[in-house]
């Protein structure tokens, strides 16, 4: 313990300027690029009027950027120390949202905190990664083999997943579970245990399906056959595919997307923003966007490989997977590859909650990168 404190004290001495120097500015520029795509797309969604969506988006991003850079300067060990506190806070919020949350689209997801609306489930994903990383970061390979050691983090995953399911928000619950699984996997959980847990989850799926709300089942059935109800639940998927497909190689041009501007495309400023981009800027625009998003995820992996402490590695993998799942679920959804599930495309979609939590996550990621060589204490058996 003494050894640990001494190091902490020494590192605290590292100058802010030095830390700023350590921040990977190319990544910050990459994020700005993604947000710029979002700005253009929202400008189009607003019919060319920046006041509708785009301006708010830019302001939110700027705020998120400051938050991210501030977090990047916070010592990773302090973050690690308060990881469980953050987790518990998010858990309290999740319970609060169930008790007092605002009902949006038939589910309790939002909670008002002052002027902003917060979606605790989004925050929970970050906090879960933090908590798991702090649980696993000193665990040796032998310790990972001990089933008793895996039970508390498993509970830490299951509790928020069940709470989110209660909202009900199937998509986010699944994503949260997957993020947890990714961290478990990267931490070195024995692969056969991992496979057994996955199998158990698969067995539980039919039971879960039974307990699903009608609208959730409708999403799954319309996904399997969108033409079955072209004017009902399948309408969104069909119109989204039409918009995407009609974009072609080069797209219809800025503000020229007929599907979006004639309102055939539902929620074009939020969940279907990618469709808007693909319609107006074609395969070229869509692929460029996808490539930038992939680079963002890749950077998380880069950070994971560069970290000398397991905490940072697991944090980076967890956060990278979080962002990856946002992107994948959203794009797969709008291309009609998986059921529609209300997942935004962070940094591009209109909406503050996802943007803020994602930037929060990237702040933690940058902190892990800046403090990649920090001593985090020895491994324990």
């Amino acid at each position: 313990m003494i050894f640990e404190r001494r190091l902490l004290a020494r590192d605290r001495g590292a100058g802010v300027l030095e830390k700023l120097w350590q921040i990977p500015w190319s990544f910050v520029i990459l994020l700005c690029g993604v947000a710029a795509i979002g700005y253009v797309a929202l400008l189009s969604a607003g019919g060319g009027n920046p006041d509708t969506y785009a301006q708010k988006h830019a302001i939110r991003f700027g705020f998120g950027l400051v938050l991210m850079l501030c977090l990047a300067l916070v010592d990773i060990r302090i973050i690690a120390r308060f990881a469980w506190l953050g987790y518990l806070g998010a858990l309290v919020l999740l319970v609060l949202v169930l008790l007092h949350g605002n009902v949006g689209k038939g589910a309790q997801r939002w909670i008002d905190i002052g002027p902003v609306q917060l979606q605790p489930s989004e925050l929970m994903k970050i906090m879960l990664v933090l908590a798991l990383a702090s649980w696993f970061h000193r665990a040796s390979w032998e310790r990972m083999g001990n089933p008793l050691f895996l039970i508390p983090p498993a509970i830490a995953v299951l509790v928020p997943v069940l709470l989110i399911l209660r909202q009900p928000n199937l998509g986010t619950a699944l994503i949260t579970g997957m993020i947890g699984a990714a961290v478990f996997w990267a931490a070195g959980m024995r692969w056969w245990k991992f496979a057994a847990a996955a199998g158990l989850a698969a067995l539980a799926a039919p039971i879960a399906y039974d307990r699903l709300h009608d609208y959730q089942r409708a999403r799954i059935t319309t996904f399997l056959d969108p033409e079955s109800d072209p004017l009902g639940a399948g309408y969104n998927i069909i119109q989204s595919k039409i918009a995407l497909g009609s974009g072609g190689l080069w797209g219809k041009g800025f503000l020229q997307g007929t599907q979006g501007h004639l309102n055939f495309l539902p929620e074009k400023q939020t969940d279907f923003i990618f469709t808007m981009i693909a319609e107006e800027f074609g395969l070229v625009g869509a692929m460029t966007t996808l490539a930038l998003l992939m680079l963002t995820v890749a950077f998380c992996f880069f950070v994971a490989f560069r970290c000398r402490h397991q905490f940072g590695r697991l944090l980076a993998i967890g956060l990278g997977t979080n962002y990856f799942l946002y992107v994948f679920v959203n794009v797969a959804m709008v291309t009609g590859s998986i059921p529609v599930g209300g997942v935004p495309l962070p940094l591009i979609s209109h909406g503050g909650s996802a943007m803020l939590t994602v930037m929060l996550g990237f702040g933690l990621l940058l902190s892990a990168y800046v403090h990649r060589d920090a001593e985090m204490g020895p491994m324990r058996d």
Binding site: A186, A187, G188, Q259, L262, A298, A304, F324, F328, P378
Partner: protein, 632 residues
């Protein structure tokens, strides 16, 4: 100091172990993270391939779908052509009609929308029933008319409440208006909403509020009047609201049809006649119908907005059959008005010569049956001319007996009796000119007694007043003029307005002159219609009276001293008169049928004279040949 190599080596060993463990953990992490990264990269690759498939491989298909989404072709109805009378007066026109439409597809809840609507503009129960029926019958994106003929105030109220009325829109259409109301109803006809069976061949008929001609000229010239639908390609948004117009193809507007009837003359004639009377006035030279009046009639405007059940019951139950055009669908025996035709048939059949005398003792005996002449005392010796002038029955009994029914029928057919006259009034009956074969087809034998009765226009005849007028025109001109109503379509005259357009009947001029002289004498030479001479300034009218029994007069009645005026009205004979004028240069030909008028000379002939005076006054010196310009 004690050398404790184990200690140091132990420490070193532990450090080494820790470092080794750390390396091992890091190695595992790297492999697992790499696997995870690979999975995620694969997922991105999947998304990329998905995009490629949607945007490049299936791009063309989706582009078409997007275009179909965006572009909506809509039909719009061209204005329906008007119907003008011979002087260019509009007898069927269009007027603006503001109406409320409902597109079921755009209404969230049709029932609720209608409920809200009826709070703004009250809807009667039968209207609601019709709307619900229309909504059921038409496709969900086809607008259904909720209410027509909105006032300004109603329109304003609807517009103000538009947000509460999803799917409802107000649009300007046109509606048919018949300024002459019932006076020209049977000629012009009427329009009504198309029946389900009408829709299909013409997309135009799917439009809300469209009307098709259901009777008369409206029906006959429906295609011409209707025109062809224009199309407009509009860009629509997801809820079907029109954003802008992309392309417009004007339809072909309906053409105006000018008919030969003189509306004012028609009205004047209808002012003179009573219920059950029919008068048909033709231009003798070319068969143009100048007036076709019958009473009672109906107001065609009522059909436009929908006929109520009560109104319909009233019309169909009435004995006077207001919906039926008696000029073309009323069937009568011609009575003595057939006698010229019988005479001409006899001459052609060479069963008599013009001068041959037949003695009339007041009755004609055949076998043990006695056929009476209307003059019980007998006319004495009669030739063809005097038999027509005095309307001697015995002479024609004898002629009929001599030549047989079929030769009479053949001649009658040449004069337009019992044949299809092809007038532009759908549903016109051709009537029946009886023949031996016709009777046999009914499974009854033809007796010579039948032939004899048919010689004076009684028996199985079923002839329309129109065909009697045509007969008269053909007698006057010797040409096979056909009755027709159309003078011009879209301002271009149609064929048939000149006498030369009609072929000769092929009857010797001498024979025709003989019967014409006889007809002249009927009116001007002391004949049966002497009381109905025209005033001198109009020239002279030639005509023939007729009286047709509706019931057989029994011998008992006849012996008791038969007085028709003592009969109930519906048992009294019909009065007929056919005439043309002026005698020396025929312009007009007409037939008058007065149901239960008792006597042709007493009821029909004076009316014919009055009609002709009216015609001369309005159309002198001759019915105008001018074709009215189509002015809009």
């Amino acid at each position: 100091m004690i050398w404790r190599p184990w200690a140091k080596s132990g420490l070193l060993g532990r450090e080494r172990t820790v470092r080794k463990e750390e390396e091992r953990r890091r190695g595992i992490f790297t492999r697992r993270a790499a696997a995870l990264g690979l999975v995620q990269f694969g997922a991105f690759a999947f998304l990329g391939s998905r995009l490629y498939r949607l945007q490049i491989e299936e791009g063309a298909r989706y582009a078409t779908l997007a275009e179909e989404n965006r572009v909506s072709a809509r039909l719009f109805a061209p204005p329906r052509g008007r119907i003008l009378d011979r002087n260019g007066k509009v007898v069927a026109g269009n007027r603006l009609n503001w109406r409320a439409l409902l597109v079921a597809e755009q209404a969230v809840d049709v029932g609720a929308t209608l409920e809200t609507f009826s709070k703004i503009v009250p809807l009667a129960d039968h209207e609601k029933a019709r709307i619900e029926r229309d909504i059921r019958r038409s496709r969900r994106f086809v607008p259904v008319v909720i209410r027509e003929f909105l006032t300004w105030e109603e329109m304003a109220r609807i517009e103000v409440n538009a947000p509460d009325l999803p799917g409802i829109s107000v649009d300007m259409g046109t509606t048919r208006i018949y300024p002459e109301t019932e006076h020209l109803a049977h000629v012009v006809g009427y329009v009504a909403a198309p029946a389900e069976s009408d829709v299909g061949d013409d997309p135009l008929l799917q439009l809300p509020g469209i009307r098709v001609g259901r009777a008369g000229i409206e029906r006959h010239h429906d295609r011409i009047l209707r025109g062809r639908a224009g199309t407009v390609q509009v860009e629509v948004n997801a809820v079907g609201r029109v954003i802008r117009e992309l392309d417009r193809r004007e339809g072909i507007p309906g053409q105006d049809v000018q008919i030969s009837v003189d509306a004012e003359l028609q009205k004047a004639i209808r002012g003179k006649i009573q219920e059950g009377t029919t008068a048909v006035l033709l231009d003798a030279r070319n068969g143009e119908v100048l007036a076709m009046a019958t009473k009672p009639a109906f107001d065609p405007n009522i059909f436009n907005s929908g006929v109520s059940a009560a109104q319909w019951r009233q019309w169909t139950a009435a004995r006077s059959t207001p919906l039926i055009n008696k000029a073309t669908n009323g069937l009568y025996a011609p009575g003595s008005t057939i006698k010229m035709v019988v005479g001409l048939a006899a001459l052609e059949a060479r069963v008599c010569r013009p001068g041959d005398i037949v003695h009339c003792p007041g009755h004609f005996d055949f076998g043990d049956t006695r056929f009476h002449c209307h003059n019980r005392n007998g006319h004495g010796g009669m030739n063809l001319r005097s038999a027509i002038v005095a309307s001697c029955d015995v002479y024609f009994y004898e002629m009929a007996r001599r030549m047989g029914i079929d030769r009479i029928a053949a001649m009658a057919n040449r004069f337009g009796l019992g044949v299809d006259l092809e007038i532009e009034l759908p549903g016109t009956r051709r009537g029946v000119m009886p023949t031996r074969g016709w009777r046999l087809a009914q499974g009854r034998p033809w007796s010579i007694g039948d032939t004899i009765v048919h010689g004076i226009g009684q028996g199985f005849y079923q002839l329309t007043p129109l065909s009697l007028a045509v007969m008269t025109a053909r007698l006057a001109t010797g040409r096979a003029v056909q009755p027709h109503l159309t003078r011009a379509i879209g301002g271009r005259p149609v064929r048939g307005s000149r006498p030369e357009d009609w072929p000769s009947l092929g009857i010797p001029e001498a024979d025709l002159r003989l019967v014409r002289e006889a007809m002249w004498a009927v009116v001007n030479g002391g004949g049966t219609a002497s009381a109905s001479r025209l005033p001198a300034q109009y020239g002279q009218m030639s005509g023939k009276t007729g009286t047709t029994q509706v019931r057989r007069v029994s011998r008992e009645q006849r012996e008791r001293g038969f007085n028709v005026n003592a009969l109930p009205r519906e048992w009294r004979p019909h009065a007929m008169f056919v005439a043309y004028a002026p005698h020396d240069n025929p312009l007009f030909a007409l037939s008058v049928v007065v149901e239960h008028g008792t006597s042709g000379s007493g009821a029909a002939a004076p009316l014919a004279r009055d009609i002709l005076i009216e015609a001369f006054q309005r159309l002198r010196p001759a019915p105008g040949a001018r074709v009215a310009e189509a002015t809009r």
